[in-house]
């Protein structure tokens, strides 16, 4: 019974996080902030929901599979968004609110690909 309540709480919280992330992806002003919102659903939302289901599964093969799913989700989805963000940065999509002058002040030149390469994320062209 206590397990059911705990699982219900986890599932509802997970649902809430997933929903908030969804709203964020729709409403955030630019691409990079939208990535942030989407990561919310992929980490906190996924962890809470899958933990909630695991409580229902008990000690069984299903629980192990759920743990694997969670593990793979936590590995693959940040990788995908990271790759996406670096591709967008290389292609010249700017974060909103950063004009080139400001970036130069901080010592990050978004214009040249060579610099992006030194950030460790890849050189292109």
């Amino acid at each position: 019974m206590a397990l059911d309540i705990a699982s219900w709480v986890l599932l509802s919280m997970g649902g809430l996080f997933v929903f908030i992330g969804g709203v964020g992806v729709l409403r955030m002003p630019d691409f990079y902030t939208r990535i942030h919102a989407s990561s919310l659903t992929d980490t906190m939302g996924a962890i809470l929901i899958i933990l909630g289901i695991m409580l229902q599964a008990g000690a069984s093969l299903a629980a192990i599979k759920l743990a694997m799913i969670l593990l793979f989700l936590l590995i693959t989805s940040p990788t995908a968004t990271n790759a996406l963000a670096s591709a967008a940065l290389l292609a010249g999509v700017r974060p909103c609110g950063t004009d080139p002058v400001m970036s130069a002040d901080k010592g990050i030149d978004l214009d040249t690909n060579a610099d992006a390469g030194s950030l460790g994320e890849g050189k292109d062209t």
């Binding site: 693959t76 790759a83 670096s86």
Partner: protein, 339 residues
């Protein structure tokens, strides 16, 4: 309640399909068809078709996006013309008329999920009952696919093989340029471009590391799906697609050249033919043991064991052929130079 979920997903599917047809940008259309395939898989799952959903998942997530993008790289990605307004009006008229006719026809259909309809009364119960006694594997879909309708599946495998051979033939031709002959400068640009093409995502560190970490797991999962197909959702078709997806991931990360060094084209061609031959060979062996073509019961002293052996071997054949064909198709597209 689940029927409402189904209706919601179906509505999203219609919206996605409309957007796919509406957009002028083919690249966007391909991304949206990835979403379309996901929705399709979710619907199959809600409609109790776990095996079909797994197939759609393996094909839609791993293979079809990659193939469409491969083709787009070679052909260009924007639609040049909008259809003329007369053309569009006529097409819309035809389409609307047929839609209304089909919708009118649906009112004569039996209610959704009605167990009393002829389609549910006739063959399906026989398959479900007989599977438990004669074949003794839990997954009725695999039993029907591999044993009851094994001859049909053999045909499907040969269709897949034929498509693979067709692609290899098509891409073995070298293009004859009709109009503008290549200038020297152009060919030089192309050769440098080719060097760039060969290296894959080698300079993207994080995808590289994570991808390498995951490839063994994907391969292992593919083998699990292959050999667990008798007991849960899975089988040769799904496993072939998943294993092909793993190798495609390797090719994306390391470049086609390295992937071709791991599994050369002659091995792939051998796999394409070998799987189909393995499948047919099982049938021939059955005939030699005084059974009918693909009658697995004669393969062992105990008919049920014979069925088990037959199903495992032919599923392996299916898996090998599907892997070989999908990978050959991928390499054919990815290795083609842009003209």
């Amino acid at each position: 309640m689940t029927i409402i979920f189904g209706v919601f997903l179906l509505t999203l599917m219609v919206i996605t399909a409309l957007a796919i047809v509406h957009t002028q940008h083919l690249f966007v259309a391909v991304i949206l068809s990835g979403i379309f395939s996901l929705l399709m898989a979710a619907n199959f799952f809600l409609l109790d078709a776990a095996d079909v959903a797994l197939t759609e998942a393996a094909i839609g997530a791993g293979i079809s996006t990659v193939l469409f993008l491969g083709a787009l790289t070679l052909t260009g990605e924007a639609e040049r013309y909008r259809s003329s307004s007369v053309n569009r009006v006529v097409a819309l008229g035809v389409v609307a008329a047929i839609t209304l006719m089909v919708i009118y026809a649906t009112f004569d259909k039996p209610a959704f999920g009605d167990p009393q309809t002829p389609v549910q009364q006739h063959v399906a119960p026989w398959y479900i009952d007989t599977t438990a006694n004669d074949i003794d594997i839990p997954n009725v879909v695999t039993a029907v696919l591999a044993s009851f309708r094994g001859y049909d599946t053999l045909g499907e495998v040969f269709v897949v093989l034929t498509a693979g051979i067709g692609i290899l033939f098509l891409f073995s031709a070298t293009p004859t340029r009709r109009k503008k002959p290549q200038t020297e400068q152009e060919s030089e640009v192309e050769s440098t471009a080719e060097i760039k093409f060969g290296e894959g995502l080698r300079h993207f560190l994080i995808p590289q590391v994570v991808g390498r970490l995951l490839i063994p797991f994907i391969l292992l999962f593919g083998l699990y799906v292959q050999f667990h197909g008798d007991y849960g959702p899975g089988g040769g078709f799904q496993a072939g697609a998943i294993i092909a997806a793993a190798i495609i991931l390797y090719a994306l990360l390391e470049g086609e050249a390295r992937a071709l060094r791991v599994i050369p084209q002659w091995v792939l061609t051998g796999m394409m033919a070998g799987g189909a031959i393995l499948y047919s060979a099982v049938g021939v062996v059955c005939m030699m043991l005084d059974g009918n073509f693909l009658e697995y019961s004669v393969l062992a002293a105990d008919p049920i064991t014979g069925q088990h052996i037959g199903i495992i071997v032919i599923e392996a054949g299916v898996g090998i052929t599907v892997t070989g064909v999908l990978l050959s198709i991928f390499h054919a597209f990815a290795g083609r130079r842009r003209f």
